[in-house]
């Protein structure tokens, strides 16, 4: 994986750039010691690392604007960073650029429960948005697995999803407004407490733009009243075809569970060994179905779901009987990545497929697995088609990373081939950047790059992400 060639001119000017930043920001907000900046050299995609020129930690929108204005005028690339939990390398630094961390933008600014909204600074973590309102019976719906650590800034940049988005949508569906600082240092408000502003939906295009259009410093988020209760049920099936058919029947009959999760045999066994959730070890496919409401509503919905599942002869079925049991069931699922990490090194993919293609895709992944000689565990948001195949490998074996990446690329290409996409919720970052041409024509990509041209004409923000480097070079040559 290549990154843009760092500018020797900028590298040589490091001292001047750092000194300039120190005239704008408080002394403790600028880090340039190479030992200290090492903490920022990668995000959760740890295979790729690059020490940045410096790291800045502004405390306010004004400080962000002042720093960006200076860096823009100096022609210095900037990599925005939330909590660094990106699995796609969205916050991978560049050697001639400055990392802008929003970690100190950590204030909840406004809680307006009558209007069901919260305004926060963007360094606030996903889970602490819920934390700010749960005492009053509200919650923030998008729930990525990293929600304890991940920042709202990163959620907005990647349009993060989660296990419960079948019912509640992803970040873009719960984001009402942002304060955005453009690369030139201009502070802009998009959206806000009033829904559906007229004019072009710039908020909609900023969300999911991977920190390439501006730095989000504040966000207005929709919060919802927490349902009266929720209860998961587990079903084990003898094949993934049968589990897939069961998912299709549940949806066909008008039941929209709040979550509908699928795991295959290797994932079941790893999660059970790790979390002791009571998963059926004899099953080849597991569904976790969760419904919400009052106890009676839950009973009614689960009765419908059990009747549908019965037609598919589940070999195991367990309805949660207590809060503790529900927690254990979800702990198993949410710790899936950690569980895999105990067994081997892995890469986690994130393609989406049309739900009907599940059996075919799993069969073909199985064939690839045999061909590459690498094991795969499949975890799947079955309601919305978002797959997370985990390819297991030994990072110390020479050439193994290249091999596992080739395998991953083949799986993602298959996702596109059956009508899906490269990324359902993690984003493109550097990880899937060079596969963009599988999903998009040059004209499709040019239209997206035209948006970048408008927001950041010099392409200084988060370089080397989302678009293949040669496509960017050709696009910018044509525009010049």
């Amino acid at each position: 994986m290549d990154m843009p060639e760092p500018s020797a001119r900028l590298m040589a000017r490091k001292d001047r750039i750092v000194a300039g930043l120190r005239t704008i920001l408080p002394a403790d907000a600028v880090i340039d010691d190479p030992i200290e900046t090492r903490a920022y050299e990668c995000d959760a995609l740890t295979a790729y690392r690059c020490p940045p020129l410096a790291v800045i930690l502004p405390r306010s929108t004004d400080e962000v604007a002042a720093a960006l204005r200076f860096l823009h005028d100096e022609g210095v690339p900037v990599v925005p960073r939330g909590s660094g939990t990106s699995l796609a390398g969205g916050a991978l630094p560049v050697a001639d650029g400055v990392v802008l961390s929003v970690a100190r933008l950590n204030q909840v600014l406004e809680i307006d429960l009558p209007n069901r909204l919260v305004r926060v600074q963007s360094g606030v973590t996903n889970l602490s948005v819920t934390g700010a309102v749960e005492g009053e019976g509200f919650f923030y719906a998008p729930d990525p697995s990293s929600q304890l650590a991940c920042a709202i800034a990163g959620n907005v940049a990647m349009n993060s999803g989660g296990a419960h988005c079948l019912k509640y949508g992803v970040t873009t569906n719960n984001l009402m407004g942002v304060t955005l600082v453009t690369m030139s240092g201009q502070v802009i408000t998009l959206g806000g407490p009033a829904l559906d502003a007229p004019g072009l939906d710039l908020l909609g295009v900023v969300c999911g733009s991977e920190g390439m259009l501006g730095v989000v410093t504040e966000a207005t988020l929709r919060v919802l009243a927490r349902p009266e209760g929720a209860r998961p049920i587990l079903f084990g099936f003898e094949s993934s075809e049968v589990a897939g058919a069961c998912v299709a029947d549940i949806i066909r009959e008008g039941v929209i569970p709040v979550a509908l999760e699928f795991m295959d045999g290797p994932a079941i066994r790893a999660c059970e060994a790790f979390a002791r959730a009571g998963y059926p070890l004899n099953a080849t496919a597991l569904l976790i179905v969760e419904v919400e409401g009052s106890a009676a509503e839950i009973d009614d919905q689960l009765a419908r779901i059990k009747a549908i599942a019965a037609r598919h002869n589940p070999i195991a079925q367990r309805e949660s009987a207590s809060e503790a049991e529900s927690k254990a069931i979800w702990l198993g699922r949410k710790s899936a990545f950690g569980a895999m990490g105990q067994i081997a090194d892995y890469i986690c993919l994130d393609g989406t497929i049309p739900i009907g293609a599940l059996p075919e895709v799993l069969r073909r992944i199985g064939e690839m697995s045999a061909r590459y000689g690498l094991d795969v565990a499949n975890i799947f948001h079955a309601g919305d088609g978002n797959m997370h195949p985990l390819i297991l490998f030994d990072a110390n074996a020479p050439g193994s990373l290249e091999k596992v990446e080739a395998f991953g690329a083949e799986i993602l290409t298959l996702c596109v081939e059956v009508g899906g996409c490269l990324s359902g919720e993690h984003g493109v970052g550097v990880e899937k950047r060079d596969l963009m041409g599988v999903q998009f024509t040059p004209a499709d990509m040019a239209a997206q790059m035209a948006v970048k041209d408008v927001f950041d004409p010099a392409w200084l923000l988060n370089p080397g992400k989302v678009f293949p480097l040669d496509a960017v070079a050709a696009h910018r040559r044509a525009a010049a």
Binding site: G199, I251, G385, D444
Partner: protein
């Protein structure tokens, strides 16, 4: 004077028409069913480009809750096909025909271009939230795809959102894809009679802050309306819990009859009561709790509001004023701006819409980005010139009132 009408049969033919128009400096007014033609500022064009022949369902997978169809497909056809499988578009799109006195059939493309959403927007999101993919032709005649047919997709920039609500000023939609929801087994509407606007919105706020998954919350004609939908047992439980919750506000009449209730909600979605009498109509989006405060501020300014309907829990105020004038528009926009909201002049004669600008003015840096995007997507100014234009006369917009 009637303009020449172009009706391409395929996307490729449409792309060629646009490329030719761009080369010749010809301006095109895009029309689906033509039912929303009064929405936005007046368009000046040399020809009408009809999308009606780009119709038909390309893919419908009920078990995946997804639909892909040509932009010119009639909404009535879509609704019928989906209903046969017990499904629907989630966002209850507004039908603009009563408002504009237009005939013909609304199309998917027009609905997307205007981001038309109804009362269920507060629960299920707007049109843009259910839109998962599209194809369009840009102002140079290039065919561009974005999004897809799966509901979870963060691959590349989200041009799907950018195109929704862009009123045809960035490109001509040729194909659109949606996430669907099941039709509910039962619908119940609770009606609270006799509350004023302030008390009505307070009741709606209580309902929306409850865990009972309200799918409609409106105030119209001194009736406060709360809708819940779903399986019969669940709706029965939630209806009685909501009635108890709202008892301190007023006793609730429970309307079980779904056809009567459907009529009430479609009248609110389509603003039929406001549309029935003459006078300019405005649509103002605010923080829900500011809805009643906004109306009283207008009355203080001497704006003669002849009728108002509050939807989205109070956050969407649609109102008719007695006589359209520059002064009314200034007061409405000034108050909306002061409350961090925005006001659209939804129905008015062409000259008034041109004079005030149909859409709320954007702050200068936002307007500059939007202008930059239009210059990139439609560099020759082919599409719907004037539709999203700012006010022709400068109306003073200040936060001071």
């Amino acid at each position: 004077m009637s303009l020449p009408r172009l009706r391409p049969a395929t996307e490729a033919e449409l792309a060629e028409i646009v490329a030719t128009a761009a080369a010749r400096g010809q301006r095109l007014c895009i029309a689906g069913g033509g039912t929303r033609a009064g929405l936005g500022s007046p368009v000046t064009a040399d020809a009408v480009l009809e999308t009606g022949a780009l119709n038909g369902i390309k893919l419908y997978e009920p078990a995946a809750l997804t639909l892909v169809a040509g932009a010119g497909t009639r909404l009535s056809e879509i609704a019928q096909t989906l209903a046969a499988e017990g499904q629907r578009l989630p966002f209850e799109p507004m039908d603009h025909r009563s408002l504009y006195g237009t005939e013909g059939e609304p199309t998917l493309g027009g609905m997307v271009a205007t981001n038309a959403s109804g009362p269920r927007r507060i629960q299920a999101g707007a049109c843009r939230d259910s839109l998962i993919g599209l194809r369009f032709v840009d102002g140079r005649g290039r065919v561009i795809a974005n999004g897809g047919r799966v509901m979870k997709n963060v691959t590349g920039y989200d041009l799907v959102k950018l195109m929704a609500g862009s009123h045809g000023t960035l490109g001509v939609l040729t194909e659109v894809a949606f996430k669907l929801l099941p039709l509910p087994e039962t619908t119940v509407t609770l009606i609270l009679h006799g509350l004023n606007e302030v008390a009505g919105v307070a009741a709606l706020t209580a309902a929306l802050g409850s865990p009972y998954d309200v799918s409609g919350a409106a105030y119209a004609g001194a009736r406060t309306l709360v809708r819940i939908e779903g399986f019969a047992a669940s709706v029965a439980h939630r209806a009685s819990a909501l009635a108890a919750l709202l008892r301190p506000h007023a006793a609730a009449e429970v309307l079980n009859d779904t056809s009567e209730a459907a009529e009430i909600w479609s009248a609110i979605a389509d603003l039929r009561s406001l549309a029935a009498r003459p006078g300019p109509i405005w649509r103002v989006s605010l923080r829900p709790s500011d809805g009643p405060r906004f109306l009283s501020a207008l009355r203080r300014h001497g704006v003669e509001v002849t009728e108002a309907v509050l939807d989205w829990g109070g956050g969407l105020v649609s109102l008719r004023v007695s006589a359209g004038s520059e002064a009314d528009g200034a007061a409405i926009r000034t108050e909306a701006t002061a409350m961090s909201g925005h006001a659209t002049l939804l129905r008015a004669p062409d000259d008034l819409r041109a004079q005030l600008g149909a859409f709320h003015p954007e702050p200068a840096p936002v307007a500059a980005l939007s202008a930059g995007l239009r210059a990139r997507f439609d560099p020759c100014g082919v599409f719907n010139p004037g539709r999203m234009a700012p006010a022709r006369l400068t109306v003073p917009i200040t936060a001071e009132v």
